[in-house]
Symmetry: C2
Subunit: 395 residues, 2 copies
């Protein structure tokens, strides 16, 4: 039972909404949704499936003020607010989610869930089901026996969550990167349910280059002897390979403009010239290593590989062609992207926009500015707030 | 002694040059240059240094018709022609090197050498000195005890080779990618010697993003337990990690346009849907793996890491600033690049061009078209032939 649906919470939020726009000032409650059994689109059974979720704002009586936010590759449900007052940072899209913000929690009920095979198995706030979960048939972690899951499976589990809450309409679906893939899939799979679509920094299909890139992301894991074919639970995990995998993602999700202005050719350690020793590094290398090693400690290598697969297999709507698939999308669409994105290149985004628009579906494209490349779609979204607000307000 | 300098060879080529433009029809002879000892710019001693080299055309009596061609990261001296009639393919720039071609071997003596720490230690035609070479102090391979070498060291060894041939002027220096770094360095280090500069698909400095990218390229090697801190000679080499490293390079040197039109979302094996099994791959993945594994067999992992370091440490001319360094370049410059290059992004190339031109040095920039990205500078150079020919003919 979601506490926001109680009458008291509704009243509390109604009172708050009279105040001027402010940071989302309620603590966010992480909840868990469980399905006793789920059958993947590929026909495999996972029992049980458990995912975490959270929401900001109040579900109205008609239950028609819902915005579903779907998360990126290395993300979680935590899109806005804080779980505890002492949290260092709020959720990743806090700049655009909250009272009076673009996704105005005085109006909308913004809901976000952890995906299947979520990367962050070591984050105590994350609940997910994947290779690190217990296989009831063996009482041990699934490992690589876990079935392949796709973006469509992520969507189906989210739909089951919404069904459990009695939500039959989505005012909008919005997500960044892998979140945009889920958003495209939602709009193509359930066109009657999705009223507005906001894909951010993503295209409607993994093309050959992205398939290859995702393979490259995962490769260091399989090179690590500790990976052991995915059988490492209770042993030393392949965190060296996982850190290298996360390093590639971090670098590619960023941009040379940011890297150059942040690090230049600075050395990692004063007096240790990288030209003098194979062990001496540049600062950009040392920082990337540090971040990646920290991330690896709370991530799971097999989950990383299953996320690679989910993204590789993605082609929105599963039509005979991408054009046929995208013709299924009926929701007015606001595509937000960064022209210097090095993960989802602008051509793919423009192609997606053209194919959705081909049968008359309204499509607006907004370009983000910034020096972060792909990550501007996560870190620098305030600039798109007015465009989002206007789009969400349209009948 | 170079056979082309013999009077008979001069005559033979003079006769050939009366014939219409044709494929370079002499067999190329690979030769070896040895220095009893070489001291790196960092102050370390390598003894001996041996590198392979080859040339096309005839050195004239004034020895002033020389074009030095410097090779890319995974390349060798083999820029044109065939070593044997039955060779499957000629050198990588055969389209622009030969009788009547842009680098007209009827006029020019085109010379190219293997670099230090050349990657292709398993290629019988390659001679190089690096971690896989014997350290005379121990009688065993150097491994990671081999000193760091830089692009400037590559240039210094090439200069020693030219000195040995009595060559004191270069009509031009030209190279692609890492070859362009050597070309920039030549022009900044020896401005009185270099008469023309033709950097192809490269910038005059490794910026922070390229430093990080090169780190990512090498990372899978160090994750491979067989790498063993570089001590694997006589044991099982880290070819799994090396293959993954080479796979990253292959993908990044290519472009999504090519990947998409070549592979699309085709499966590697008929009937094996990648969405049904973690082991089933897409065709683009399978082909990248196949190519990378084949390359790994004739490459050396430590040499790869030393090449990474040489590229990371590169900043042309070693001035107080890049502007000061590039002001040292006096040679008229023809920069050839591909605007969709995913290794050396166009901004870096444009910045380089502007800094060289800042003190009045003539700079012309030619853009390549194509679907291969970075690799258009290796595979599709015929389109630049006229621009190169005109530039080389200018007094």
């Amino acid at each position: 039972m979601n506490r926001f649906t109680s009458a008291a919470a509704v009243l509390a939020v109604a009172l708050l909404s009279a105040a001027p726009a402010a940071a989302y000032d309620q603590l966010v409650e992480k909840q868990v949704f469980e399905m006793p059994t789920y059958t993947t689109r590929g026909g495999a059974t996972i029992a049980p499936v458990r995912i975490g979720w959270e929401a900001y704002g109040t579900l109205n009586e008609a239950k028609d003020n819902v915005i579903l936010v779907t998360h990126f590759f290395s993300g979680t449900s935590h899109a806005a607010g804080k779980y505890a007052a002492e949290d260092k940072a709020p959720g990743y899209w806090d700049a655009i989610i909250g009272p009076g913000k673009a996704l105005d929690t005085d109006k909308y009920y913004v809901l976000s869930s952890d995906t299947l095979v979520n990367l962050n198995t070591g984050d105590p706030k994350v609940t997910t089901t994947g290779p690190a979960s217990t296989n009831p048939a063996t009482g041990k972690p699934w490992g690589m026996d876990f079935p392949v899951v796709t973006i469509r499976d992520f969507v189906e589990v989210q739909k089951a969550l919404l069904d459990s809450l009695g939500i039959a309409k989505l005012h909008a679906v919005m997500g960044a990167s892998m979140g945009s893939l889920q958003a495209y899939e939602w709009a193509a799979a359930y066109p009657q349910m999705v009223e507005r679509l906001i894909p951010v920094i993503g295209s409607a299909e993994a093309d050959a280059y992205l398939i290859g890139t995702l393979n490259v992301w995962g490769a260091p894991i399989t090179v690590d002897a500790n990976w052991n074919g995915g059988d490492y639970y209770g042993k030393e995990p392949p965190n060296k390979g996982l850190a290298e995998a996360l390093k590639i993602v971090t670098l590619q999700a960023n941009h040379y403009e940011w890297a150059d202005e942040t690090f230049g050719r600075a050395w990692a350690e004063e007096g240790k010239d990288p030209a003098k020793s194979m062990d001496a590094k540049y600062k950009v290398e040392a920082v990337l290593d540090q971040v990646a090693q920290a991330r690896a400690k709370v991530s799971d290598a097999n989950h990383f590989l299953y996320l690679v697969k989910a993204n590789q297999t993605f082609t929105a709507g599963h039509g005979d062609s991408l054009a046929a698939a995208l013709a299924k999308i009926e929701a007015p669409t606001l595509i937000i992207h960064q022209p210097e994105d090095l993960v989802f290149f602008p051509e793919g985004v423009r192609k997606t926009a053209a194919l959705i628009a081909a049968d008359g579906t309204p499509v607006k494209v907004v370009e983000l500015a910034g020096t972060r490349g792909h990550l501007d779609g996560v870190l620098n979204m305030a600039q798109a707030a007015d465009a989002i607000r206007t789009f969400l307000a349209k009948e």
